[in-house]
């Protein structure tokens, strides 16, 4: 298996960023991590994962779609899409990697979202296997193996070196592009590390969580559950869970009048917001209970119902650590579990 020694990491990043834009998880002064455009000297974060998920790369929070120019009373439509360049996202975790396949189901299904598609085509996802999962992790529950992440290419660290493996042509192209820096390496120690990690994964407090009770066939049962009231009573109706979630894909389209033209842009929206999907007749979900229910029904029931059993959650645990009042999908699953 091809590897590169950890102390050569800088060279690797330099090499990649020489040919295309490279994004890596980097540490912020407050100890948390975020994806940053690689610049010389930048260090790979040791944190388990970034606060914001990697979905921004393909589905940014705000995105200009089209412009309108207004001359007096005439309006002209301007296509502002630019030829987007290739880029590499390095160090994506298994959970986030899976989130892309979920987003694909939404944006690449007919009608295809061309904005998303171009980004997806130009982006190479290089994943990094987990070695120190956190108590909030439960990707295993959704059949994700943190030690065998998906992505165009994957890599593993054994504490000394990083090992590479391509999952498709794009991934192979990536590895070829850096092959000069790579060498064949012995994976014995790596196997050890992976074993250790697997052992930890089994011990995770949320490992026992089950998706048994969920999926399309239990729709009305869950929809009518009387648990929602209690679960949602303390929900603030903020969008934190939605915005840190790697799979949430709802957006709103707005026009912004710049004074000399109109910019039509889309931005993330949250089903937790009071004015979500507000229509001419008003708002379909008037209470926080309904909005709250919508979010979890979508992830645990509607999504699988429409995507042959695939759940809309990857167990990254971001909402667990970020919800201001610590209400989250795990608590919901446990409450709604059908014994």
């Amino acid at each position: 298996m091809l590897k590169i020694s950890l102390d050569k990491l800088d060279e690797l990043f330099e090499a990649i960023s020489a040919s295309q834009t490279l994004y890596i998880p980097a540490d912020r002064e407050d100890g948390s991590a975020e994806y940053r455009k690689y610049e010389s000297g930048m260090k790979l974060s040791s944190a388990l994962n970034t606060v914001r998920s990697a979905k921004d790369f393909f589905f940014p929070q705000t995105e200009n779609l089209v412009d309108f120019k207004m001359e007096g009373k005439n309006i002209e439509v301007i296509d502002i899409r630019k030829e987007s360049e290739d880029f590499v996202i390095f160090g994506v975790r298994a959970c986030d990697a899976r989130s892309f396949t979920i987003l694909d189901k939404v944006f690449l299904a007919e009608p295809v979202d061309s904005y998303y598609k171009t980004r997806r085509e130009h982006g190479t996802v290089v994943t990094m296997a987990c070695t120190r999962p956190s108590e909030t992790c439960f990707c295993g529950v959704f059949g994700i193996d943190a030690t065998a992440p998906e992505g165009d290419a994957a890599c593993w660290s054994d504490g000394e070196s990083i090992f590479f493996e391509a999952h498709n042509d794009k991934g192979q192209k990536f590895i070829d592009s850096i092959s000069s820096l790579l060498e064949e390496g012995d994976t014995a120690k790596l196997e050890e590390t992976r074993e250790k990690t697997r052992a930890i994964l089994k011990k995770l407090p949320l490992a026992g969580l089950s998706t048994e009770s969920f999926g399309g066939d239990r729709m009305m049962e869950h929809f009518n559950s009387e648990k929602w009231g209690e679960l949602s009573e303390s929900c603030l109706g903020c969008g934190t869970c939605t915005f840190v979630c790697p799979t949430c894909q709802c957006y709103d389209i707005k026009d912004f009048n710049t004074g000399h033209g109109i910019k039509r842009f889309r931005c993330w929206d949250s089903c937790m917001y009071s004015d979500f999907t507000k229509m001419a007749h008003g708002n379909p979900r008037l209470t926080q209970l309904e909005r709250f229910r919508q979010r979890f029904m979508h992830k645990l029931v509607y999504f699988p119902a429409n995507n042959n059993g695939e759940f809309g959650c990857v167990g990254c645990g971001r909402c667990l650590s970020k919800c201001p009042i610590s209400m989250n999908i795990v608590k919901v699953m446990k409450a709604l579990e059908v014994k």
């Binding site: 009373k73 004074g259 000399h260 008037l286 926080q288």
Partner: protein, 663 residues
């Protein structure tokens, strides 16, 4: 879709000389919503207005923009024109391209650009203008005058003269106020009673005037045009309707040791009393604090001697409620208490008196029947020292920061009267400054100095010490001669500062009017609206607004009356439609707006609402009274949710202007 007309005025060459009006009209014609854009020589002229009117009809315009002189100049002209053409007058906007463009700029190119931008801003705004209709609210044709001093009496008489009913509320048993206690008036030296009492009688006899003596205002509701006021008629234990004021009860009353407040406590009255001979109403009042009958049920002499059976020991306070269109405040003043001024020995020595006490001492109806005698030993004083500015113009907490204004003149008057009547009496006046502005005032003062040889000494009295021999040692400094003086006086008269009556502050709260830190009522505008309070329908008369002498007081009293009449003659008041209004669905009921409203125009009510989440809830929401709101907009910014907005200057309108200008 809006159909907006733009009309650019040349104003002869005033605008056209520096602004290319044709280009302005042409460019604005391309703005969204603009269907016609014209320029004309004089837009405000008859033919100019017709041009506008016709365009409105012809293109059935939904709004018009006039690029011309300042809206302060012709906004009304064009609003009228619009109205005449059937367009709501508030769908008119003015772009000020004269005062704020052509007149201040020289370069035609840039001036024209600016004119265009100002025009665009106006167009952007008019897009959002809403037709407004001025509300109307009825006016109750009755006035209330609070305070029955000379100010109140004068105001009441003038209002009654105009044919409107007016009520006077006076907390004392009689009207007349301070002036009734005064002996003579400056600068004419005619007797106060001789000019006041006829007015008092006139007031009592005027069919339009109702006097509520011995009464107080306890509650005020409503707003300009329809105030509802609760008046407490305190029990006087005498039936006003029966009492003839014969005074027999007062002669027979056994309780004769009651300090007589009318004579500043310098002599005594009986428990049942009539303040003074010319009191109006001339009705007896029983003082419950001293009356044996009321205190312990023994006596009852007065009821025995009263031939008409007016005495009623069972009488209770009565409350009456009355509607008024206008309220005039005339609560007057009082001399400050001098307890804090030990240096003047006011509390130690009976012969140290205030000027008002001196008035009584010299008054023919006073304790000594008009002969000036020392309160202590009833002897004739030969040396009298007057001390000015006692508590006035002083920065410490003991006194008042302001000048009491009347002291200089009445002291000159006192000095003169004493020298006139008792030429053998020497009079000294210690002053900081002598302030005698006013018609014939300075001449008056000079007469005191020059003809009557009153010793005016610039300097302050340091200490007043009563001596065992009955004399009073006055220690003072003469600043001009720069020497310390000792005067052994027989009497010392202190010109105590005057302050607003204590009842003023609670009253101000009831009326939601403003007061300054000295508790004087604040006028709506110091120059332009000196006799109106900031609260519509409430007017100010006399010393409650600031220290005044009698001529000024009477002048202001009549001015306040005129203002009140101006309001009362209207059957209804048209309100300015550019007022605030709250969106009840967004209102939090937090009271921020109410706190910043200078007019008390905002009230709250609990209303039931159907909430977004289908539940119904009782919510506290603000509502603005359009009759009271003056449209300043303070509330709109105090309101965090933006529930409060202002007609004619709405958030969206102003932001549209900003956007247009910053384009």
């Amino acid at each position: 879709m809006q159909r907006i007309g733009v009309f650019v005025c040349h104003c002869g060459t005033n605008i056209a000389a520096t602004v290319d009006v044709k280009t302005v009209a042409e460019t604005l014609g391309h703005e969204p919503g603009v269907v016609i854009s014209q320029d004309y020589q004089y837009m405000c002229s008859e033919s100019g207005q017709n041009l506008v009117k016709n365009a409105i009809k012809e293109h059935n315009l939904t709004g018009i923009v006039i690029c011309s002189c300042s809206p302060r100049m012709h906004e009304n002209t064009f609003r009228k024109a619009a109205a005449a053409a059937g367009l709501n007058p508030y769908l008119v906007e003015i772009a000020n391209i004269r005062e704020q463009c052509s007149w201040i700029h020289k370069d035609i190119a840039t001036a024209t650009d600016k004119a265009i931008i100002l025009g665009k801003a106006a167009v952007a705004k008019v897009h959002l203008n809403a037709p407004l209709t001025a509300g109307e609210s009825p006016v109750a044709k009755r006035a209330l005058v609070i305070g029955g001093g000379i100010a109140g009496i004068q105001t009441a008489l003038d209002i009654a003269e105009a044919g409107f009913d007016v009520d006077i509320v006076e907390k004392q048993p009689t009207i007349g106020g301070k002036m009734a206690q005064i002996d003579k008036t400056f600068p004419t030296l005619d007797c106060a009673a001789c000019i006041l009492t006829p007015k008092m009688v006139e007031a009592s006899q005027n069919e339009h005037i109702t006097i509520h003596s011995f009464s107080e205002v306890t509650d005020v509701k409503g707003f300009v045009g329809n105030f509802t006021v609760t008046i407490k008629k305190k029990a006087r234990y005498v039936d006003e309707t029966k009492c003839t004021g014969c005074g027999l009860c007062t002669e027979k009353c056994p309780m004769k040791k009651v300090p007589n407040e009318f004579n500043m406590g310098l002599d005594n009255r009986t428990a049942v009393y009539i303040p003074f001979a010319q009191a109006v109403p001339k009705v007896a009042t029983i003082d419950p604090n001293y009356c044996m009958m009321l205190k312990n049920g023994k006596c009852g002499v007065c009821s025995k001697v009263c031939s008409v059976g007016a005495i009623d020991y069972k009488q209770q306070d009565r409350f009456i409620e009355q509607k008024y269109g206008a309220i005039v405040v005339a609560t007057g003043f009082n001399p400050i208490k001098l307890d804090k001024y030990d240096e003047f020995a006011y509390n130690q020595c009976p012969d140290v008196v205030t000027s008002l006490e001196l008035e009584r001492l010299m008054n023919a109806a006073g304790p000594n029947g008009g002969t000036l005698l020392r309160p202590s030993d009833k002897t004739h004083p030969h040396k009298i020292v007057f001390v000015q500015c006692v508590g006035s113009r002083c920065d410490d907490s003991k006194g008042k920061p302001y000048c009491s204004k009347i002291c200089c003149m009445y002291t000159a008057k006192h000095a003169m009267l004493i020298r006139e009547k008792y030429p053998d009496t020497e009079v000294y006046v210690f002053y900081i400054d002598v302030r005698t502005p006013g018609k014939n005032f300075d001449e008056f003062y000079r007469r005191a100095v020059e003809q009557y040889n009153v010793h005016y000494i610039k300097g302050m009295v340091g200490k007043v010490t009563p001596r065992s021999d009955g004399k009073i040692d006055v220690q003072a400094s003469d600043l001009l001669a720069n020497e310390q003086l000792h005067i052994d006086a027989d009497m010392v008269v202190l010109a105590a500062a005057i302050e607003p009556d204590k009842t003023a502050r609670p009253l101000a709260t009831m009326l939601t009017t403003q007061m300054d830190t000295n508790d004087f009522f604040t006028e709506a505008h110091p120059k332009l609206r000196p006799v109106e309070s900031a609260t519509a329908g409430i007017f100010l008369s006399g010393a409650c607004q600031g220290p005044k002498d009698i001529p000024e007081t009477v002048a202001q009293a009549s001015a306040a009356a005129a203002k009140a009449i101006g309001l009362l003659v209207k059957n209804s008041i048209t309100c300015n439609p550019c007022v605030a209004h709250s969106n009840e669905l967004m209102c939090n009921g937090c009271s921020s707006c109410e706190k910043v409203c200078p007019y008390g125009a905002i009230t709250y009510e609990d209303k039931e609402f159907r909430m977004p989440d289908r539940t119904t809830a009782i919510r506290r929401v603000a509502s603005v009274n359009p009759a009271v709101c003056q449209g300043c907009g303070a509330c709109t910014v105090a309101c965090p949710s933006g529930a409060m907005d202002l007609n004619g200057f709405s958030n969206s309108q102003i932001m549209a202007e900003v956007d247009a200008i910053c384009k």
